[in-house]
Protein backbone atom coordinates (compact mmCIF):
# COMPACT_ATOMS: atom_id res chain seq x y z
CA UNK A 1 0.00 0.00 0.00
CA UNK A 2 1.39 3.40 -0.93
CA UNK A 3 1.41 5.99 1.81
CA UNK A 4 -0.51 9.19 1.33
CA UNK A 5 1.36 12.26 0.22
CA UNK A 6 1.73 14.74 3.09
CA UNK A 7 1.02 18.33 2.11
CA UNK A 8 3.85 20.77 2.82
CA UNK A 9 2.93 23.00 5.78
CA UNK A 10 2.42 26.59 4.73
CA UNK A 11 5.11 28.51 6.61
CA UNK A 12 4.61 32.06 7.81
CA UNK A 13 7.17 34.33 9.49
CA UNK A 14 5.82 33.60 12.97
CA UNK A 15 6.17 29.82 12.61
CA UNK A 16 9.32 29.59 10.48
CA UNK A 17 11.57 28.57 13.45
CA UNK A 18 9.22 25.68 14.21
CA UNK A 19 9.62 24.23 10.74
CA UNK A 20 13.35 24.91 10.63
CA UNK A 21 13.68 22.90 13.85
CA UNK A 22 11.54 20.15 12.32
CA UNK A 23 14.03 19.97 9.45
CA UNK A 24 16.69 19.33 12.10
CA UNK A 25 14.55 16.63 13.70
CA UNK A 26 13.42 18.66 16.71
CA UNK A 27 9.88 19.26 17.94
CA UNK A 28 9.29 22.69 19.43
CA UNK A 29 6.45 23.80 21.70
CA UNK A 30 5.29 27.23 22.75
CA UNK A 31 6.04 28.14 26.37
CA UNK A 32 4.09 30.89 28.10
CA UNK A 33 6.52 32.63 30.46
CA UNK A 34 3.62 34.28 32.33
CA UNK A 35 2.07 30.97 33.38
CA UNK A 36 4.84 28.42 32.81
CA UNK A 37 2.48 26.38 30.65
CA UNK A 38 3.40 24.85 27.30
CA UNK A 39 1.13 25.33 24.32
CA UNK A 40 0.54 24.00 20.83
CA UNK A 41 0.14 24.98 17.99
CA UNK A 42 2.96 27.50 18.34
CA UNK A 43 2.20 31.20 18.02
CA UNK A 44 3.99 34.43 19.01
CA UNK A 45 1.38 35.24 21.66
CA UNK A 46 0.25 33.26 24.67
CA UNK A 47 -3.16 31.60 24.34
CA UNK A 48 -3.40 31.86 28.14
CA UNK A 49 -2.55 35.55 28.70
CA UNK A 50 -2.40 37.06 25.19
CA UNK A 51 1.00 38.55 26.03
CA UNK A 52 4.08 38.22 23.84
CA UNK A 53 6.05 36.80 26.77
CA UNK A 54 6.50 33.43 25.06
CA UNK A 55 9.33 31.24 23.84
CA UNK A 56 9.74 28.26 21.58
CA UNK A 57 11.28 25.42 23.56
CA UNK A 58 12.29 21.85 22.67
CA UNK A 59 9.83 19.11 23.53
CA UNK A 60 10.88 15.69 24.76
CA UNK A 61 9.01 14.17 21.83
CA UNK A 62 7.44 11.59 24.12
CA UNK A 63 3.75 11.18 24.77
CA UNK A 64 0.72 8.91 24.92
CA UNK A 65 -2.20 8.55 22.55
CA UNK A 66 -5.24 10.48 23.85
CA UNK A 67 -7.53 9.46 20.98
CA UNK A 68 -7.18 8.20 17.43
CA UNK A 69 -9.06 7.30 14.27
CA UNK A 70 -8.20 5.48 11.07
CA UNK A 71 -9.32 7.32 7.96
CA UNK A 72 -10.61 4.60 5.62
CA UNK A 73 -9.81 6.42 2.39
CA UNK A 74 -7.91 5.18 -0.67
CA UNK A 75 -4.62 5.52 1.20
CA UNK A 76 -5.68 4.95 4.82
CA UNK A 77 -3.91 6.75 7.64
CA UNK A 78 -4.26 7.07 11.40
CA UNK A 79 -4.97 10.47 12.95
CA UNK A 80 -4.53 11.02 16.67
CA UNK A 81 -4.22 13.46 19.47
CA UNK A 82 -1.02 12.64 21.34
CA UNK A 83 -0.70 14.01 24.86
CA UNK A 84 2.88 15.17 25.15
CA UNK A 85 4.90 14.76 28.35
CA UNK A 86 4.84 18.58 28.60
CA UNK A 87 1.02 18.65 28.63
CA UNK A 88 -0.38 19.77 25.28
CA UNK A 89 -2.33 17.38 23.08
CA UNK A 90 -1.00 17.58 19.55
CA UNK A 91 -3.04 16.63 16.48
CA UNK A 92 -0.88 14.25 14.47
CA UNK A 93 -0.63 10.87 12.73
CA UNK A 94 0.40 7.50 14.15
CA UNK A 95 2.92 5.79 11.87
CA UNK A 96 5.09 2.66 11.88
CA UNK A 97 2.27 0.77 13.62
CA UNK A 98 -0.42 -1.56 12.29
CA UNK A 99 -3.79 0.16 12.56
CA UNK A 100 -5.27 -2.66 14.65
CA UNK A 101 -2.51 -2.28 17.24
CA UNK A 102 -3.13 1.40 17.94
CA UNK A 103 -4.58 1.96 21.42
CA UNK A 104 -5.51 4.93 23.57
CA UNK A 105 -2.79 5.21 26.22
CA UNK A 106 -0.07 3.76 23.97
CA UNK A 107 3.34 5.35 24.54
CA UNK A 108 4.70 7.04 21.44
CA UNK A 109 7.67 9.15 20.33
CA UNK A 110 7.98 11.77 17.64
CA UNK A 111 9.28 10.94 14.16
CA UNK A 112 9.35 13.30 11.22
CA UNK A 113 7.86 12.51 7.84
CA UNK A 114 8.72 14.30 4.59
CA UNK A 115 6.13 16.54 3.00
CA UNK A 116 5.77 17.96 -0.46
CA UNK A 117 4.04 20.89 -2.07
CA UNK A 118 1.50 20.41 -4.85
CA UNK A 119 4.23 21.00 -7.45
CA UNK A 120 6.37 18.24 -5.92
CA UNK A 121 8.94 20.43 -4.22
CA UNK A 122 9.86 19.21 -0.74
CA UNK A 123 8.33 20.95 2.27
CA UNK A 124 9.23 20.96 5.96
CA UNK A 125 9.14 17.57 7.68
CA UNK A 126 5.95 17.03 9.67
CA UNK A 127 5.88 15.67 13.26
CA UNK A 128 4.17 12.31 13.58
CA UNK A 129 4.37 9.62 16.24
CA UNK A 130 5.43 5.99 16.34
CA UNK A 131 5.33 3.41 19.16
CA UNK A 132 8.00 4.30 21.73
Amino acid sequence: MTERSIAAPVVDPSTRPVWEAAAAGRLLLGLCRDTGRHFHYPRPVSPFTLSGNVDLVPASGLGTIYSFTVMRVAQPYACAYVELAEGPRIFTNIVDCAFEEIRIGMKVRVVFRPSQAADGTPGAPVPMFAPA
Partner: protein, 390 residues
Protein backbone atom coordinates in the same frame (compact mmCIF):
# COMPACT_ATOMS: atom_id res chain seq x y z
CA UNK B 1 -31.42 42.02 29.66
CA UNK B 2 -33.17 38.79 28.73
CA UNK B 3 -34.33 37.97 25.22
CA UNK B 4 -37.14 35.83 26.61
CA UNK B 5 -40.30 36.55 24.65
CA UNK B 6 -38.74 39.45 22.74
CA UNK B 7 -39.35 37.96 19.30
CA UNK B 8 -41.17 35.14 17.50
CA UNK B 9 -40.48 32.86 14.57
CA UNK B 10 -43.28 33.69 12.14
CA UNK B 11 -42.07 31.97 8.96
CA UNK B 12 -40.17 28.79 8.18
CA UNK B 13 -39.44 27.01 4.93
CA UNK B 14 -37.28 24.04 3.93
CA UNK B 15 -36.47 23.72 0.25
CA UNK B 16 -37.85 20.41 -1.05
CA UNK B 17 -34.89 19.78 -3.34
CA UNK B 18 -32.06 17.48 -2.33
CA UNK B 19 -30.18 17.82 -5.63
CA UNK B 20 -30.22 21.14 -7.45
CA UNK B 21 -27.98 20.71 -10.48
CA UNK B 22 -29.92 23.30 -12.44
CA UNK B 23 -29.99 26.03 -9.79
CA UNK B 24 -27.45 28.54 -8.48
CA UNK B 25 -26.72 29.01 -4.78
CA UNK B 26 -28.08 32.56 -4.87
CA UNK B 27 -31.25 31.28 -6.54
CA UNK B 28 -31.73 28.72 -3.79
CA UNK B 29 -31.35 31.49 -1.19
CA UNK B 30 -34.06 33.45 -3.02
CA UNK B 31 -36.40 30.46 -3.25
CA UNK B 32 -36.18 29.70 0.47
CA UNK B 33 -36.56 33.41 1.32
CA UNK B 34 -39.73 33.55 -0.75
CA UNK B 35 -41.00 30.35 0.85
CA UNK B 36 -40.46 31.50 4.43
CA UNK B 37 -41.98 34.93 3.81
CA UNK B 38 -45.00 33.34 2.10
CA UNK B 39 -45.34 30.98 5.07
CA UNK B 40 -45.49 34.01 7.35
CA UNK B 41 -47.88 35.93 5.12
CA UNK B 42 -45.24 38.56 4.41
CA UNK B 43 -43.24 39.77 1.40
CA UNK B 44 -39.67 40.91 0.77
CA UNK B 45 -40.87 44.51 1.11
CA UNK B 46 -41.58 43.83 4.81
CA UNK B 47 -38.00 42.74 5.61
CA UNK B 48 -35.78 45.21 7.47
CA UNK B 49 -33.27 42.75 8.98
CA UNK B 50 -31.21 40.16 7.08
CA UNK B 51 -28.96 37.36 8.32
CA UNK B 52 -26.75 34.95 6.40
CA UNK B 53 -23.51 33.00 6.97
CA UNK B 54 -20.60 31.51 5.05
CA UNK B 55 -22.81 29.56 2.64
CA UNK B 56 -24.06 32.83 1.12
CA UNK B 57 -22.15 33.72 -2.03
CA UNK B 58 -20.09 36.85 -2.38
CA UNK B 59 -19.77 39.32 0.44
CA UNK B 60 -22.61 37.91 2.54
CA UNK B 61 -25.38 40.43 3.17
CA UNK B 62 -24.03 42.84 0.55
CA UNK B 63 -24.29 40.35 -2.30
CA UNK B 64 -27.46 38.73 -1.03
CA UNK B 65 -29.42 41.87 -0.13
CA UNK B 66 -28.73 43.14 -3.63
CA UNK B 67 -29.70 39.83 -5.26
CA UNK B 68 -32.83 39.46 -3.12
CA UNK B 69 -33.87 43.09 -3.60
CA UNK B 70 -33.89 43.83 0.13
CA UNK B 71 -33.68 47.61 -0.21
CA UNK B 72 -34.83 48.74 3.22
CA UNK B 73 -32.52 46.88 5.60
CA UNK B 74 -31.68 48.64 8.86
CA UNK B 75 -29.82 45.66 10.35
CA UNK B 76 -27.59 42.91 8.93
CA UNK B 77 -25.51 40.15 10.56
CA UNK B 78 -23.27 37.56 8.89
CA UNK B 79 -22.09 35.71 11.99
CA UNK B 80 -20.49 32.48 10.79
CA UNK B 81 -20.09 29.66 13.30
CA UNK B 82 -20.56 26.93 10.72
CA UNK B 83 -23.71 24.85 10.84
CA UNK B 84 -24.76 26.42 14.13
CA UNK B 85 -24.87 29.91 12.59
CA UNK B 86 -28.62 29.95 11.93
CA UNK B 87 -29.54 29.23 15.55
CA UNK B 88 -27.28 32.11 16.56
CA UNK B 89 -28.96 34.24 13.90
CA UNK B 90 -32.35 33.62 15.52
CA UNK B 91 -30.94 34.83 18.85
CA UNK B 92 -29.23 37.81 17.21
CA UNK B 93 -32.45 38.69 15.38
CA UNK B 94 -34.33 38.62 18.69
CA UNK B 95 -31.69 40.91 20.20
CA UNK B 96 -31.85 43.30 17.25
CA UNK B 97 -35.65 43.40 17.46
CA UNK B 98 -35.50 43.98 21.22
CA UNK B 99 -33.16 46.92 20.61
CA UNK B 100 -35.43 48.37 17.96
CA UNK B 101 -32.91 47.93 15.16
CA UNK B 102 -35.33 45.97 12.98
CA UNK B 103 -38.84 44.51 13.09
CA UNK B 104 -38.91 41.63 10.61
CA UNK B 105 -35.71 39.64 10.11
CA UNK B 106 -35.04 37.13 7.33
CA UNK B 107 -32.44 34.35 7.75
CA UNK B 108 -31.39 32.27 4.73
CA UNK B 109 -29.19 29.23 4.10
CA UNK B 110 -28.54 27.37 0.83
CA UNK B 111 -25.91 25.34 -0.94
CA UNK B 112 -25.30 22.54 -3.40
CA UNK B 113 -22.41 20.33 -2.20
CA UNK B 114 -24.09 17.24 -3.67
CA UNK B 115 -24.22 18.64 -7.19
CA UNK B 116 -20.66 19.85 -6.81
CA UNK B 117 -19.53 16.32 -5.91
CA UNK B 118 -18.04 17.34 -2.59
CA UNK B 119 -16.69 14.51 -0.39
CA UNK B 120 -17.51 16.61 2.66
CA UNK B 121 -16.46 14.19 5.36
CA UNK B 122 -13.24 12.70 4.07
CA UNK B 123 -11.69 15.04 1.51
CA UNK B 124 -8.35 16.70 2.20
CA UNK B 125 -8.66 20.47 2.32
CA UNK B 126 -6.33 23.14 0.96
CA UNK B 127 -4.35 25.26 3.39
CA UNK B 128 -4.99 28.95 3.76
CA UNK B 129 -1.77 30.71 4.69
CA UNK B 130 -3.56 33.16 6.96
CA UNK B 131 -5.40 30.52 9.03
CA UNK B 132 -3.10 29.85 12.01
CA UNK B 133 -4.13 26.22 12.62
CA UNK B 134 -4.02 25.02 9.02
CA UNK B 135 -0.28 24.28 8.82
CA UNK B 136 -0.47 22.24 12.02
CA UNK B 137 -3.53 20.21 11.09
CA UNK B 138 -4.10 19.91 7.34
CA UNK B 139 -0.78 18.15 6.56
CA UNK B 140 -1.79 15.68 9.30
CA UNK B 141 -4.91 14.85 7.32
CA UNK B 142 -7.57 16.70 9.28
CA UNK B 143 -11.03 15.88 7.91
CA UNK B 144 -14.57 16.47 9.08
CA UNK B 145 -15.33 12.80 9.70
CA UNK B 146 -11.96 12.27 11.37
CA UNK B 147 -12.48 15.13 13.80
CA UNK B 148 -15.80 13.71 15.02
CA UNK B 149 -14.39 10.17 15.04
CA UNK B 150 -11.66 11.23 17.49
CA UNK B 151 -14.42 12.34 19.88
CA UNK B 152 -16.31 9.08 19.43
CA UNK B 153 -13.19 6.98 20.10
CA UNK B 154 -12.41 8.85 23.30
CA UNK B 155 -16.04 8.70 24.46
CA UNK B 156 -16.02 4.94 23.99
CA UNK B 157 -12.75 4.68 25.91
CA UNK B 158 -13.88 6.77 28.89
CA UNK B 159 -17.51 5.73 29.17
CA UNK B 160 -17.89 2.37 27.44
CA UNK B 161 -20.11 3.77 24.72
CA UNK B 162 -20.51 1.27 21.87
CA UNK B 163 -21.06 1.39 18.11
CA UNK B 164 -24.46 -0.19 18.78
CA UNK B 165 -25.36 2.74 21.05
CA UNK B 166 -24.45 5.20 18.30
CA UNK B 167 -26.38 3.12 15.76
CA UNK B 168 -29.60 3.63 17.75
CA UNK B 169 -29.39 7.34 16.87
CA UNK B 170 -29.42 6.54 13.15
CA UNK B 171 -32.18 4.00 13.67
CA UNK B 172 -34.35 6.63 15.36
CA UNK B 173 -33.71 9.18 12.61
CA UNK B 174 -34.58 6.61 9.96
CA UNK B 175 -37.81 5.70 11.70
CA UNK B 176 -38.80 9.35 11.37
CA UNK B 177 -37.49 9.81 7.82
CA UNK B 178 -39.74 7.06 6.44
CA UNK B 179 -42.64 9.52 6.83
CA UNK B 180 -40.86 12.42 5.07
CA UNK B 181 -41.39 12.27 1.29
CA UNK B 182 -38.44 14.64 0.75
CA UNK B 183 -35.94 12.66 2.87
CA UNK B 184 -32.85 11.38 1.05
CA UNK B 185 -32.82 8.14 3.04
CA UNK B 186 -36.40 7.00 3.63
CA UNK B 187 -35.79 3.35 4.42
CA UNK B 188 -35.71 2.42 8.11
CA UNK B 189 -32.42 0.82 9.10
CA UNK B 190 -31.47 -1.53 11.93
CA UNK B 191 -28.65 -1.37 14.45
CA UNK B 192 -27.02 -4.27 12.59
CA UNK B 193 -27.16 -2.44 9.27
CA UNK B 194 -25.48 0.61 10.80
CA UNK B 195 -22.64 -1.25 12.51
CA UNK B 196 -22.11 -3.45 9.44
CA UNK B 197 -21.85 -0.50 7.06
CA UNK B 198 -18.27 0.30 5.98
CA UNK B 199 -16.01 2.21 8.36
CA UNK B 200 -15.38 5.79 7.27
CA UNK B 201 -13.25 6.93 10.21
CA UNK B 202 -12.98 4.45 13.07
CA UNK B 203 -15.26 4.01 14.97
CA UNK B 204 -17.73 5.84 12.71
CA UNK B 205 -19.40 3.89 9.92
CA UNK B 206 -20.94 5.19 6.74
CA UNK B 207 -24.38 5.12 8.35
CA UNK B 208 -23.11 7.10 11.35
CA UNK B 209 -22.69 10.04 8.94
CA UNK B 210 -25.23 12.56 7.72
CA UNK B 211 -26.27 12.85 4.10
CA UNK B 212 -24.68 15.27 1.66
CA UNK B 213 -27.51 17.25 0.10
CA UNK B 214 -28.30 20.37 -1.89
CA UNK B 215 -31.03 22.73 -0.80
CA UNK B 216 -31.59 25.22 1.93
CA UNK B 217 -34.01 26.82 4.33
CA UNK B 218 -35.12 30.15 5.69
CA UNK B 219 -36.72 31.65 8.78
CA UNK B 220 -38.54 34.89 9.49
CA UNK B 221 -38.27 36.37 12.98
CA UNK B 222 -40.55 39.24 14.00
CA UNK B 223 -41.63 41.44 16.87
CA UNK B 224 -44.34 39.74 19.01
CA UNK B 225 -47.02 42.33 18.07
CA UNK B 226 -46.39 41.56 14.40
CA UNK B 227 -46.40 37.80 15.07
CA UNK B 228 -49.82 38.04 16.72
CA UNK B 229 -51.18 39.99 13.73
CA UNK B 230 -50.24 37.18 11.31
CA UNK B 231 -52.32 34.08 10.67
CA UNK B 232 -49.78 31.45 11.73
CA UNK B 233 -49.39 29.83 15.17
CA UNK B 234 -47.02 31.95 17.27
CA UNK B 235 -43.66 30.40 18.18
CA UNK B 236 -41.89 32.51 20.76
CA UNK B 237 -38.14 32.60 21.42
CA UNK B 238 -37.82 31.77 25.10
CA UNK B 239 -34.12 31.08 25.62
CA UNK B 240 -30.88 31.46 23.67
CA UNK B 241 -27.27 30.50 24.23
CA UNK B 242 -23.99 30.47 22.35
CA UNK B 243 -20.47 29.20 22.95
CA UNK B 244 -17.21 28.53 21.13
CA UNK B 245 -14.92 25.67 22.11
CA UNK B 246 -11.41 25.23 20.78
CA UNK B 247 -8.19 23.56 21.80
CA UNK B 248 -7.13 26.70 23.68
CA UNK B 249 -3.40 26.12 23.47
CA UNK B 250 -3.48 22.36 22.95
CA UNK B 251 -5.72 21.15 25.76
CA UNK B 252 -8.80 19.72 24.03
CA UNK B 253 -11.14 17.55 26.10
CA UNK B 254 -12.96 15.57 23.43
CA UNK B 255 -15.63 14.22 25.77
CA UNK B 256 -17.74 17.36 25.80
CA UNK B 257 -18.88 20.13 23.47
CA UNK B 258 -19.78 23.78 23.70
CA UNK B 259 -23.37 22.66 24.22
CA UNK B 260 -22.44 22.42 27.90
CA UNK B 261 -22.27 26.22 27.96
CA UNK B 262 -24.75 27.29 25.25
CA UNK B 263 -27.37 24.90 26.62
CA UNK B 264 -26.98 26.12 30.20
CA UNK B 265 -27.30 29.71 29.00
CA UNK B 266 -30.44 28.97 26.98
CA UNK B 267 -32.11 27.04 29.80
CA UNK B 268 -31.27 29.81 32.28
CA UNK B 269 -32.78 32.47 30.03
CA UNK B 270 -35.85 30.33 29.38
CA UNK B 271 -36.31 29.45 33.06
CA UNK B 272 -36.93 25.78 32.21
CA UNK B 273 -35.01 22.50 32.51
CA UNK B 274 -34.36 19.65 30.08
CA UNK B 275 -37.20 17.72 31.71
CA UNK B 276 -39.64 20.38 30.42
CA UNK B 277 -38.65 19.88 26.76
CA UNK B 278 -41.23 17.95 24.71
CA UNK B 279 -39.25 17.77 21.44
CA UNK B 280 -35.56 18.31 20.62
CA UNK B 281 -33.83 19.08 17.33
CA UNK B 282 -30.26 17.95 17.97
CA UNK B 283 -27.49 18.60 15.45
CA UNK B 284 -26.68 15.33 13.73
CA UNK B 285 -23.71 15.67 11.43
CA UNK B 286 -22.71 12.28 12.87
CA UNK B 287 -24.32 10.02 15.45
CA UNK B 288 -21.64 10.91 18.00
CA UNK B 289 -22.54 14.60 17.66
CA UNK B 290 -26.05 13.80 18.94
CA UNK B 291 -24.85 11.68 21.82
CA UNK B 292 -22.34 14.18 23.18
CA UNK B 293 -24.77 17.10 22.82
CA UNK B 294 -27.57 15.23 24.62
CA UNK B 295 -25.24 14.82 27.59
CA UNK B 296 -23.98 18.40 27.46
CA UNK B 297 -27.50 19.84 27.19
CA UNK B 298 -28.43 17.92 30.34
CA UNK B 299 -30.87 15.36 28.94
CA UNK B 300 -28.70 12.74 30.67
CA UNK B 301 -25.51 12.72 32.72
CA UNK B 302 -22.07 12.86 31.09
CA UNK B 303 -21.15 9.38 29.96
CA UNK B 304 -24.75 8.13 30.07
CA UNK B 305 -25.54 9.06 26.46
CA UNK B 306 -25.11 5.52 25.19
CA UNK B 307 -27.66 4.15 27.62
CA UNK B 308 -29.97 7.13 27.00
CA UNK B 309 -30.29 6.63 23.24
CA UNK B 310 -30.75 2.86 23.30
CA UNK B 311 -33.97 1.02 22.56
CA UNK B 312 -35.62 3.77 20.59
CA UNK B 313 -35.60 6.43 23.29
CA UNK B 314 -35.31 9.15 20.60
CA UNK B 315 -38.19 7.80 18.46
CA UNK B 316 -41.41 9.81 18.49
CA UNK B 317 -44.23 7.82 20.08
CA UNK B 318 -41.77 5.27 21.47
CA UNK B 319 -39.14 7.01 23.59
CA UNK B 320 -38.93 9.77 26.16
CA UNK B 321 -37.21 12.37 23.97
CA UNK B 322 -38.47 12.55 20.35
CA UNK B 323 -35.67 14.07 18.25
CA UNK B 324 -35.22 15.17 14.62
CA UNK B 325 -38.66 14.02 13.51
CA UNK B 326 -37.97 15.11 9.92
CA UNK B 327 -35.22 12.48 9.72
CA UNK B 328 -32.56 15.07 10.55
CA UNK B 329 -29.24 15.41 8.83
CA UNK B 330 -28.68 11.69 9.25
CA UNK B 331 -31.52 10.78 6.86
CA UNK B 332 -33.38 13.80 5.55
CA UNK B 333 -31.28 16.79 4.61
CA UNK B 334 -28.01 18.56 5.44
CA UNK B 335 -28.11 21.45 2.96
CA UNK B 336 -24.83 23.26 2.30
CA UNK B 337 -23.17 20.90 4.82
CA UNK B 338 -24.85 22.98 7.52
CA UNK B 339 -27.67 21.47 9.53
CA UNK B 340 -28.65 24.26 11.92
CA UNK B 341 -31.38 25.78 9.78
CA UNK B 342 -33.32 22.54 9.37
CA UNK B 343 -33.04 21.96 13.13
CA UNK B 344 -34.99 25.15 13.80
CA UNK B 345 -37.49 24.48 11.01
CA UNK B 346 -38.52 21.07 12.37
CA UNK B 347 -38.83 22.49 15.89
CA UNK B 348 -41.17 25.16 14.47
CA UNK B 349 -43.22 22.45 12.72
CA UNK B 350 -43.54 20.52 15.97
CA UNK B 351 -44.60 23.59 17.98
CA UNK B 352 -47.18 24.51 15.34
CA UNK B 353 -48.48 20.95 15.27
CA UNK B 354 -47.49 20.74 11.60
CA UNK B 355 -45.03 17.84 11.73
CA UNK B 356 -46.04 14.65 9.92
CA UNK B 357 -48.90 13.07 11.93
CA UNK B 358 -46.87 9.89 12.40
CA UNK B 359 -44.15 11.80 14.25
CA UNK B 360 -46.02 14.80 15.69
CA UNK B 361 -45.44 15.07 19.43
CA UNK B 362 -48.73 15.42 21.32
CA UNK B 363 -49.20 18.77 23.05
CA UNK B 364 -45.78 20.04 21.97
CA UNK B 365 -45.55 23.36 23.78
CA UNK B 366 -41.82 23.61 24.45
CA UNK B 367 -39.01 22.55 22.12
CA UNK B 368 -35.24 22.83 21.97
CA UNK B 369 -33.06 23.24 18.90
CA UNK B 370 -29.30 22.91 19.12
CA UNK B 371 -26.48 23.22 16.62
CA UNK B 372 -22.77 22.46 16.50
CA UNK B 373 -20.77 24.11 13.73
CA UNK B 374 -17.25 23.39 12.57
CA UNK B 375 -15.16 20.47 13.80
CA UNK B 376 -16.21 18.90 17.11
CA UNK B 377 -12.70 17.60 17.83
CA UNK B 378 -10.79 20.72 16.77
CA UNK B 379 -12.85 23.91 17.19
CA UNK B 380 -16.56 24.43 17.00
CA UNK B 381 -19.43 26.78 17.66
CA UNK B 382 -22.52 25.87 19.66
CA UNK B 383 -25.91 27.56 19.67
CA UNK B 384 -29.05 26.56 21.55
CA UNK B 385 -32.63 27.82 21.33
CA UNK B 386 -35.57 27.10 23.58
CA UNK B 387 -38.78 27.76 21.65
CA UNK B 388 -42.33 27.94 22.93
CA UNK B 389 -45.79 27.80 21.38
CA UNK B 390 -47.94 30.65 22.59
Amino acid sequence: MSLRGSACIVGAFEHPTRKAEDKSVAQLHAEVAFGALADAGLTAADVDGYFCAGDAPGMGPLSMADYLGLDRLSHVDSTDIGGSSYLAHVAHAAAAIALGRCNIALITLAGRPRSEGMATGTAARAQNASVPDDAFEIPMGRTVAGSYALCAMRHMHEFGTTSEDLAWIKVAASQHAQHNPHAMLKKPVTVEEVVNSPLVADPLHRLDCCVISDGGGALVVARPEIARSLKRPVVSIRGTGEAVKGQFGGYPDLTFSGARFSGARAFAEAGVTPADIRYASIYDSFTITVLIQLEDLGFCAKGEGGRFVRDGNLISGVGKLPFNTDGGGLCNNHPANRGGMTKVIEAVRQLRGEAHPAVQVADCGLALAHGTGGLLGHRHGSATLVLERQ
